[in-house]
Symmetry: C2
Subunit: 153 residues, 2 copies
Amino acid sequence: MKEEGSYIEIKEVFTEYLKKHQHRKTPERYAILERIFAYEGHFNADILYNIMQESYRVSLATIYNTLELLVDSKLIIKHQLGSQFAQYEKAFGSNTHHHLICTNCGRVKEFSDKPIRLAIQAKTFVHFEMSHYSLYLYGLCSKCKEPKKKSID
Amino acid sequence: MKEEGSYIEIKEVFTEYLKKHQHRKTPERYAILERIFAYEGHFNADILYNIMQESYRVSLATIYNTLELLVDSKLIIKHQLGSQFAQYEKAFGSNTHHHLICTNCGRVKEFSDKPIRLAIQAKTFVHFEMSHYSLYLYGLCSKCKEPKKKSID
DNA sequence: TTTGTTGCAAAACGTTTGCAGCCTC
DNA sequence: GAGGCTGCAAACGTTTTGCAACAAA
């Protein structure tokens, strides 16, 4: 897995993708990519839309359009973490991680685990070519497990 | 993990759950459970609604209500496999399995893998109590990978 | 110049909710 | 009989779509 750090590199990957698929290199698309690059953590279309208003004004339709391109170009990952709306996160710059989802409050936390990662990566299929994966562990977070004890968290 | 086979046993589990949570034992709820018990594979609320019309007529609202109870009672598992709508499957009668999802055609296949299962089950958290998990592997199925070669599958 | 892309608003989609009547407890 | 559950339809929130204007190629 290549470690892609700078925005310049990410931008190049996106440009290559757009060129290859004969999509246009619009300022909106790069503005969105730039904003995502600077954003830490999970986000959804609405959050991104609100953030964008500060810098480069784009419509929700364009947000969705661009998110789809970014997912297809493997620059971001789309999650459906149980809620109605899709959540996204950068696919570059950070290590593979999994998600803990509290079935009571919906809170999402990330964690990494080498044995799990290795076990999954070791798996190969004759009739399937894996590109990426998502592991979601559901359960109760500390707050919902022990409601009597006030955790600051 | 206890192997629950017959509908009688499943029904008992559900009855226990309803009793414990002071929910009423309505004919609609049992009719839905019975239909799910007989159904093979993944389904969603709409599919279930259509199937139900053949035997016991219930409204979509009741379908959703009952699905939530069944999820809560751990008799079925809810998945968000990338699409807009939730998919469900029985949590009884079959082994733990994971999902292969084709990013091109959306086809879903199941597979089992002991090393992966053990690695995940070995993981414990101080501030999180795992109840269940979902592993989704995304990629290209044989049909979408080699479109020239006709696979019978 | 061509045609993909944009913004806007309306539509679509799965799911949830409000409410009157019903039925379990 | 009280109150949870049902069916129905309307409401909801996210995502998609239709269309005219725009701009990248």
